[in-house]
Symmetry: C2
Subunit: 391 residues, 2 copies
């Protein structure tokens, strides 16, 4: 196993041994370069972000929690600039290799974390998910990946982007490791009891490439068998694209607000596409944000209605497998937009979501996602275990 | 004289001896890194611009013309990224030191060329002026600088930005050197005959800081004496700000069009402010450009009316001397806008303009500009000589 896949941030590799005897003893992990590690500048995927900022004195909560549980930190990983990106191509630090889909992007913004786990360089890795940044690379790299219930984990020491959507997530190759790590970070035992009702989001399956929907069908069948009962529903009655548009109204403006003072004082360097997202965010009118805020309320109500206790919803994590690396923006922009249509509910409603590996299209991984009621994170992990056992 | 003022592009310094015995024998010059030099990548002030482009096989016309006339090239100079900037702060290569105004910007985008001439590192230097990129640094660095009649010089080997406004210009510390270089690049002897009518642009003087208008009064008086007769006129009856707005409608869109394919395929890195200008340019509506095109026609008619043969118009080159380096965008953006109000006529109407040194405000240089009929470039240079003699 080579580690020359460009997953780690350039420079000396950080390593911190985990506490002896913890529940994660023997596991290794990496942390996206949005998480503070004491004594190491937090890069944020942008060469001008660390300038003038104090070097962190403390580890981020998620990093410290994994260390305390016995896992060993073996490096910080490349991220899309200031976590604004969904494909994993960083103009400053390069694009980590997706060993499961050679020549393809790893997905972002938690690109290096997903690539490192997929390549077997570590057992798990911390990412962040604001608009899909764990879910999408999990799908593209064939991994388990979780976006927890929004607001559940302590985000201290994690660089913010759009706080009303920001979450800390993580990846693993197999369900057992995923469950061990999840138990620690969720602070909750993984339950034995599974949901009893599966909702299949027909609009989301219809929106994905036909080959993706077909490739996921065996997993959907297995999931229905694991859960016991299933029915079809439209997830987003106004349209997945309408939810995506609301998301694209709220999140870029919130990101612009997060970074506004830095942009003003530092005039930092960005890839054109990243600067463009911030400029667009700066120009979103308050009236449009007010409309999108109402849509967010409606999306929350819809997801709560679809997901009473004991229910799990499934949808394709991404509408297609990983696109080719190095394509022009006019090719990538519509792909980004389509991805957002399948990810928007996460940031809008804040429900927990796990992307499960197990399907491929033309040899390329693509994930099936399960979404649960708010707070049901550990139950989703239990479903992931049951799915792996049933495979 | 140190040359450690950050005026030259990083890396090995290019040097090409001028042809022996030419009219510029003994002079040295530098070229803004928008001009091709055979065998040297043209940087364009942006680290991603040279990627994938062939290394120039030929010298740019202006470089070759100076070499043929006997001047020796001693280096390529820093420019604002892809010539989009008016202050001379480059996030990749740094900000050249303005020896005439320590702690202040040199002006841009021909920042390194102006800084190098001001510091005495060379006798003259090539710049480009699309929206003020020679005139502004000439004013801030206390130099002679010319924006020639648009369309007059051969621009081959000069990186374009907005072709309907792009020009090749140059700097010198004294009028005699300025005249020698101008004679060669204009391909025309500097005439003895001077204009006979001076038009003082009262709106432009009113728009400048009161201290600047006052500091320029002795030069205006001297100019009136040199020319013989003067009268006051409004240069821009609809308003300098209206002309500036038309300019800000036409030029950024044209620049975006110039770079669109590169942005799409290369997703290059820029300082935020530069990317922002390109994004804004991409969003300008055709209806707004149509309006601005009509305004440009009107501005051309107005400038032609004001400048019949034998006439010269004067205005402050910039509304203030060089601002402090390293200020936030919210401070710099309004300054850029004000500068545009005094520079917009150049790109709109294409008349030749020379900025003359000789005034200071609080010890900081500020230039007086003279504008002539199209094609009267050499006459403006003659006026510069007469002004220096009369000082």
């Amino acid at each position: 196993m080579t580690d020359d896949i460009g997953a780690f941030v350039p420079g000396p590799r950080v390593r911190i041994e985990g506490r002896a005897g913890g529940p994660l003893a023997g596991l290794t992990f990496a942390a996206k370069d949005l998480f503070d590690v004491a004594g190491v500048p937090t890069g944020g995927g942008n060469h001008d972000w660390p300038t003038g900022r104090p070097i962190p004195k403390n580890n981020a909560w998620a990093v410290q929690t994994l260390l305390d549980a016995g896992a060993t930190l073996i490096g910080k990983t490349i991220t899309d600039e200031v976590s604004l990106g969904i494909l994993g191509e960083n103009a400053f630090d390069g694009t980590p290799v997706n060993v499961r889909a050679p020549g393809r992007v790893p997905g972002g913004s938690s690109s290096g974390s997903a690539a490192a786990v997929a390549a077997g360089l570590c057992d798990t890795a911390l990412g962040t998910d604001t608009g899909g940044s764990v879910r999408v690379p999990a799908s593209f790299c064939g991994l388990h990946g979780i976006r927890p219930t929004h607001g559940r984990l302590d985000l201290s020491g994690m660089m913010p982007q759009a706080p009303t959507s920001d979450t800390t997530g993580w990846f693993a190759r197999d369900a057992e490791t995923f469950a061990r790590v999840s138990g620690v970070l969720l602070g909750e035992a993984i339950p034995a009891r599974l949901p009893t009702q599966l909702v299949v989001a027909v609009d989301a399956f219809g929106f994905a490439d036909a080959e993706v929907a077909a490739a996921l069908q065996p997993m959907v069948k297995r999931l229905a068998a694991v859960v016991g009962a299933s029915r079809e529903e439209i997830m987003a009655p106004p349209g997945l694209s309408v939810w995506a548009r609301a998301r694209r109204t709220l999140q870029p403006h919130e990101a612009y607000t997060t970074f506004r003072d830095w942009l003003d004082k530092g005039n930092p360097r960005f890839a054109f596409s990243v600067a463009r997202a911030l400029v667009m965010g700066s120009m979103i009118a308050e009236t449009d944000r007010a409309w999108a805020g109402l849509m967010r309320q409606e999306a929350r109500a819809r997801m709560a209605y679809l997901l009473p206790p004991g229910t799990v919803l499934c949808l394709p994590t991404t509408p297609f497998p990983a696109p080719l690396r190095g394509q022009p923006l006019q090719v990538l922009d519509p792909l980004r937009d389509r991805i957002t249509c399948l990810c928007a509910h996460g940031g809008l409603a804040g429900h927990p979501q796990v992307s499960l590996p197990g399907a491929t299209v033309g040899g390329l991984p693509v994930g099936l996602s399960i979404v649960g009621p708010r707070g049901s994170d550990a139950t989703l992990v239990a479903v992931a275990q049951a799915m792996e056992k049933a495979a």
